[in-house]
């Protein structure tokens, strides 16, 4: 990029977009600190006279704490499964030259294009038959499977950038595949590992369709479903609803603040050469 002159027009445009992004978030935030009558009387754009935390307290007491816990369990398990299975997969894809390895890779690439809606009907019956309906495990397994393609894509991208010389040096030293994996590949893929943790966590945290179809009771409800049902059942309690939206994003925001670099790099790498 030429750094000589600042581009005022582009700066203005992106400032405009900042408004489009920031204003709704701001409106949401101030709405959550108002009582319901205040919000109804003043509308979403007024600045509240009396600030209150009641909406958050009410939400947490009305089951959202349980939904939170469920979502945390689902997310942790999905990340665990992905972290256990995807790195060895990516290692094989990058290092094997056989046709089977590339077929497997193509299969995972194909998986990028399989929307979860496409399999929801058989998934519903398979999970029911397995006795996992309305059980968090029944949500975790398909969610993890559908998080794998994009993680495989990201991680193979990172592992491919490890130069062949390094493998060769270790091979000459007589290192086994396992040693190469643990002592060379994993340490050099740290940024990729961080990225797939963030990605699979995001996907699990935000999952909607699998929980919608595969669970039923309050004990297994995740946050996204809680939001949806809150809206259909108490749609008029807008401050309470928006407080729940804010609650639902807090943990992800925290993860993002810690792993911003990994997330951003992973996304930027996707469009690279």
């Amino acid at each position: 990029m030429s750094k000589s002159r600042p581009n005022h027009l582009a700066g203005f445009g992106s400032g405009l977009w900042l408004l489009v992004v920031g204003l709704p978030l701001y409106v949401m935030l101030i709405a959550t600190f108002q009582s319901r009558p205040d919000y109804a009387a003043n509308g979403p754009l007024a600045f509240p006279e009396h600030l209150t935390l009641d909406n958050y307290i009410k939400d947490l007491n009305s089951g959202f704490a349980q939904y939170f816990l469920n979502t945390v369990i689902v997310t942790a398990c999905v990340v665990g499964i992905v972290l256990l299975l995807v790195p060895p997969l990516a290692y094989t894809i990058v290092r094997s030259r056989g046709r089977i390895a590339s077929t497997v890779f193509r299969l995972f690439l194909l998986g990028l294009a399989i929307p979860s809606q496409a399999v929801i009907v058989p998934m519903f019956f398979v999970i029911s038959e397995a006795g996992l309906y309305d059980n968090l495990i029944g949500v975790i397994l398909p969610t993890a499977a559908f998080a794998m393609p994009v993680c495989a894509l990201i991680l193979t991208g990172v592992m491919r950038d490890i130069t062949p010389d390094l493998y060769e040096a270790m091979t000459v030293d007589g290192a086994s595949s396992r040693r190469i994996f643990f002592q060379l590949v994993l340490p050099l893929s740290r940024s990729g590992l961080a990225t797939i943790i963030v990605f699979s966590a995001l996907q699990a945290w935000n999952g909607f369709l699998f929980p919608l179809v595969l669970t039923q009771s309050a004990e297994t409800k995740v946050i996204t479903l809680g939001l949806y049902e809150f809206q259909t059942e108490h749609g008029v309690d807008t401050p309470g609803l928006l407080a729940a939206v804010v609650l639902s994003m807090l943990p992800i925001l925290l993860v993002y603040l810690f792993a911003r670099r990994a997330l951003v790099q992973g996304l930027m790498g996707v469009g690279g050469k």
Binding site: P88, G111, P115, P122, A144, T224, L227, M268
Partner: protein, 311 residues
Amino acid sequence: MTRTAIPRKNNGTVRKATPSRYGAGRPGLLWAAPAAVFFGLFAIIPLIMVAVLSFTAWDGLSDPEFVGLANWRTLLDDPLMAKSLWLSVLITALGVIVQTALSILLGVWAAGHQRNRAVLSAIYVVPLLLSIAAVSVLWRALLDPNLGVPAQVPWLFGDGNLFGTQSSAIAVLVFVSTWQFTPLHTLIYQGAARAVPPVLYQAAEIDGAGRVRQFFHVTLPQLRNAIITSTILMVVGGLTTFDTVLILTQGGPGSDTTISAYYMYQKAFKSFDYGSASAIALLLVLVSTLISLIVARLSGYDKMRSTMEGL
């Protein structure tokens, strides 16, 4: 997974058998097996089941009954199916156009190195962190005809019921997706724009090309791969939009925003017509797979190139 000539375990003996630069020290396929089996069980096999079910009539209680192409024929004559497909394509296309234009401009701008850009790009990402469900709930509340913003700003929104007509409901759906996913594509373009060799800009400047010409003749062509990647993500995402429609419009007014993915959900879990639902699901997969295959071929993903090569 069949057996191959690749040694599964190298106990140090491969050292002598190094036939080429790339020959030895390679992991066996067993390393990939757990992931492949897991993925096969929960993605590929259900997909095959969908294909089989699409040729059956099934209410979920009795046994599926093979009916050949009956579901497909019914769907072919179903005006709602045609309408839902058209709506899927329309909403996807609108989303691709709006988001691509926005995210290329924002991404190229954000690829610069000034400090305020870093701060701003950090804020831009926030909508991406919210779940689709949360974003839909948020906008449903903000755009509520009675309690939301439209009631307060009548000069901008008219009678205020954005969910009342087809065109405004579609506009809302496209806007909400754009609001949430533009950051994703901005990041992709930002990364790609950073990778453009500065030499190209220097050469263009020597040739006397201004900023606009540089953008069209240097930046855009160099973003080719990013455009491909980002477009496929938009297309697949757009064709399979579901949460947004369920929460924002419930397919309405009438069936005016009933896109195929939502129609499939209704067929399966509201009308319990699992055969037809499977046929719609399969159709969605075929379309999005076709697009991805084309893109994978174009972008060279399937050739397993290093991202460092080929500057």
